[in-house]
Symmetry: C2
Subunit: 201 residues, 2 copies
């Protein structure tokens, strides 16, 4: 009496998206239902745009930033400080830094962070290409701007150890309380770092 009533292509869609890191069956179904619930024309144009992304967006051959050009806008700009490289996990981190308008150096995108749990080892990140850039270019400072998480910290430490004897300044973005936070709800590590790195008022 029991039927296999789920259409094969729908089952395949759930399986495909379930396998995305950080996804499971529930979030895959949620994504697919969102598409199916939209007016079909809109849903098709969401997919068309994703096709274009896959077709045109690729890592900059120099720094790894996702771009639709051969060399990204930062690497090809004349007026950037080419002696400073800011290392980030993902392109979106670089876009966020760029949005502040406070940074004028170059970027380097690792394409992830070290994660033993997810099986991400140094050879899967763009670390070799960072070392090559440092050999070729007159780099004076590398800012490690991986995320303030256990994995981001481990990644920063790993890269620091590769760079520490190279006669370049290696710095790490500051830990501290984020704007709008309350001491009461901050974790111990953040409060300790905020005290340790206190600045003169």
């Amino acid at each position: 009496m029991k039927l296999d009533i789920i259409p094969k292509i729908l089952e395949e869609a759930v399986e495909n998206i379930s396998q995305f890191p950080g996804y499971g069956e529930k979030s895959a179904k949620h994504f697919i239902l969102n598409l199916l619930h939209m007016p079909r024309g809109e849903a098709f144009s969401v997919l068309k745009n994703l096709y274009d992304v896959l077709d045109k967006i690729h890592p900059c051959k120099e720094c790894g930033l996702y771009t639709d050009k051969e060399l990204c806008d930062v690497c090809s700009a004349e007026d950037r400080d080419k002696e400073t490289i800011c290392v980030v996990e993902e392109s979106f981190d670089a876009y966020a830094i760029e949005n502040t308008g406070k940074y004028k150096g170059l970027y380097h995108v690792l394409g992830g962070r070290l994660s033993p749990l997810e099986g991400i080892t140094p050879d899967q990140l763009n670390i070799d290409s960072l070392l090559q850039r440092i050999e070729k270019q007159p780099v004076k400072e590398v800012i490690l701007a991986t995320n303030p998480t256990v994995e981001g910290e481990a990644t920063a430490t790993y890269i620091y150890n590769l760079l520490k004897d190279k006669n370049i300044t290696v710095s790490r973005i500051a830990y501290g309380l984020p704007f709008g936070a309350t001491l009461e709800n901050a974790d111990d590590f953040t409060i300790a770092k905020a005290l340790e790195h206190k600045t003169k008022f």
Copy 2:
């Protein structure tokens, strides 16, 4: 000095997916990065499959179950109990019930649940078509199998009120402790329902 370094189509992709219900900018970026991190061939085939889903999957014209046929496998089966309709929020709920092999009636897919917060009102759900089916067919029982949530309960109550004077049995799936649960961690409502609906050992 600040550049607009995010490619337009990538920005558009983030905007599109951010607008999915239950999504935000963070989860949209996460989805897109997953696609971009995959080998391109695989990523294209994930999108191709989603295209096929949008192209071929549509609600069954009788019960609303997502199917690739005009009439779904349940509605077109000869040997189902056509006097019983099980009302679910989404097709995936029906697939889950069907997987138990314990149900032999028909389904009716609402396509969501009443949710004042998300602006989902009765006219946006397939409730009219349920009433029409009951008029046309010899239905003796309607099982309300919307989810055991505040919205699912409100939806069930709404439909119950439409059906209660129609001389058909309206039932609701049982609340109780799920298999593998612990009393200690269950919420009061669930424990109360589990006691109220106790069965003889």
